[in-house]
Amino acid sequence: MNNVILSGRHLKTTISAEQIKTLKKASRRENLGRSWYKFSRNPMSVVGLVMVVSLILIAIFAPFVAPYPKHAGPFTDFHNAKIPPGLRYFFGTDVIGRDVLSRIIFGLRSSLLMGVVVLALVVPPGVMLGLVAGYFQDTWIDTVIMRITDIFLAVPPLILALAVASVLKPNLWNGMLAVSLMWWPWYTRLVYGRAVALRNEYYVSAAEVTGASTAHILFREILPNTLSPILTKMSIDIAWVIIIGSMLSFVGLGVQPPEPSLGTMIADGSRYLPDQWWIAVFPALAIVLIVLGFNLMGDGVRDMFGAEAS
């Protein structure tokens, strides 16, 4: 029995370690270029990307971008309360004299933070459970995982979030926890469907018959093929998490005053509609912009993973 690899035959072509490194770099660059090409086919995706990046930058540099950063904390100035939008206060001031624009910028911070943290908490376990349940379809593992998932999905999401948030101390972190608990099952379900379909692919069988470990099959064969819907969902989810988070703070759970939160601002400002419309409308517009930006970007992410033309 000749050992194929160690048989010592002469190679027809030779390639040095250096050349391999150059190849690797070149192919990385080409892959990035290709991904960008697919992403940017639709100009609206690029618009979305620009919006999202701008929002993230504004949130990170909030103390430097906001015209009145102190207004985001405990601050009152009743002389300058209820001023309509103008040159001095671009979006006007609220009932206790705080600059609406600055508060929106800081509120953006907590909204985006919530989006990122919740997804970081939710996606890894959700995806893992979906992969395992899908690959072991029709065994007890599948049944246990998916029935638990079903239970969580059966509870109306907002109610679950409210229930959890009201039991715990109301603050940003507990708000995030509450939202996380209702969010993970969606990823499990999404990945479950894909994993069930993919486990019958020939390349999975090829790995199985060669003796690959279950971990290899789950994470290196199946998972990369489920990334497309996962990442697309994530980019749109950030927007949804922010909305849910705003709903929580609207009802008084989640971020507490005087910390600004888009939801609380809308809640407080809604009492002063339509006369001091700017107090509620601008935060609402901010949410619209965030959601729009992420949705447009999400379209591009989906295109990026699209099939290659043959």
């Binding site: 000749n2 194929v4 072509t13 060669t210 003796g211």
Partner: protein, 334 residues
């Protein structure tokens, strides 16, 4: 020559559901319904059949994707299927498979390098994986630059070559080729087959070659077996199989092939023209499964399923036209 694979009375039934009220019986697909054959080391055994024949199921059982419902498979006298249904890892490396569809046998999200690294890591000693991959690619005449490409960047023929390289990576003795060139253009097929034949010589491989293309089979296999609805109808050395086809289904299949020369046209059997549909494997006719389409059907055919008999040296057929008083008892190459 030693026997590398011995298959004895292999059966694989799939339960696919239940019939409607009120009977509620299980519906079973008898994908493989009692086949026996052996393979000699170094030969190429061809397995021919159409949809429902069970040829792919045989392949999948041999490579370990399914376990048999009954019957035995021995690889060099070791049972492939242990009591717990699992196969020891050293046997996993000895038998490999190349699948039919190059588009789905390679993971589209992994580079060629990663695809080849996996079997190497599992079965080959040494740590110089990159070197080993370059080596593997060289063996199949593929330039090392292909390492970082993704499958979608390769043509169908190239993908199949990568699949062959992946099979070779574990240093196997037996490779099952499940319609390896059916999805490829004919000029690419020639190249791929030539590569496979060269590799067989160089590494003393045994091939189980599955295809529906009898013209290809004629030029590749040393022995041919033809299957219909889960059973072998005829098995013979290649020359014999084509020059003296005995089973009516073999003749029907041979007469249906589109050929490109007058010479081949004259060679095709004329007596049996294809008629009728292939029955669903859920509903196999009683007696001999070919009765619905056989031009030579007799009363006995509908009642008794014929046994395999030896009709010539190394030439076995399962048909009442050839039933002799004593059917062959030894299921071997003869």
């Amino acid at each position: 020559m030693t026997d590398i694979l011995t298959v004895t009375d292999l059966k694989k039934y799939f339960v696919v559901g239940r019939s409607s009220w009120p009977k509620r019986e299980s519906i079973t697909v008898k994908a493989v319904d009692g086949i026996s054959f052996t393979m000699r080391e170094g030969e190429t055994l061809g397995l021919v059949g159409e949809s429902g024949s069970g040829k792919s199921t045989v392949a999948y059982i041999t490579v370990g994707m399914y376990s048999p419902t009954s019957g035995s498979l021995k690889f060099r006298d070791q049972d492939l299927f242990q009591a717990d249904g699992k196969r020891p890892i050293r046997l996993k490396k000895d038998i490999q498979i190349v699948y039919q569809d190059p588009g789905s046998s390679l993971n589209p999200r992994r580079t060629i390098k990663d695809i080849l690294k996996m079997p190497l890591q599992l079965h080959q000693p040494g740590k110089n994986r990159l070197e080993q991959i370059v080596y593997l690619l060289d063996i199949v005449d593929m330039p090392p630059e292909y390492m970082y490409k993704y499958p979608y960047m390769l043509s169908g023929g190239e993908k199949q070559i990568v699949a062959v390289a992946r099979a070779l990576a574990t240093d196997p003795s037996l490779i099952i080729l499940d319609e390896p060139t059916s999805a490829l253009d004919v000029s690419v097929q020639a190249k791929t087959i030539n590569l496979l034949l060269r590799l067989q010589q160089e590494f003393q491989l045994t091939y189980l070659f599955i295809t529906h293309d009898l013209s290809l089979m004629r030029n590749v296999a040393s022995r041919v077996a033809i299957m219909y609805l889960g059973k072998i109808c005829e098995i013979a050395e290649t020359a014999d199989f084509f020059q003296k086809p005995l089973h009516p289904y073999t003749q029907m299949l041979l007469s249906s092939i589109p050929v490109i020369s007058e010479e081949e046209e004259a060679f095709k059997p004329k007596k049996v023209i294809s008629t009728g549909e292939i029955p669903s494997p859920v509903n196999i006719p009683s007696g001999c499964s070919f009765t619905t389409r056989c031009p030579f059907v007799m009363a006995v055919c509908r009642e008794i399923d014929p046994a395999m008999v030896e009709a010539g040296p190394g030439h076995k057929v399962r048909c009442h036209l050839f039933t002799q008083p004593k059917p062959a008892t030894v299921e071997g190459p003869g």
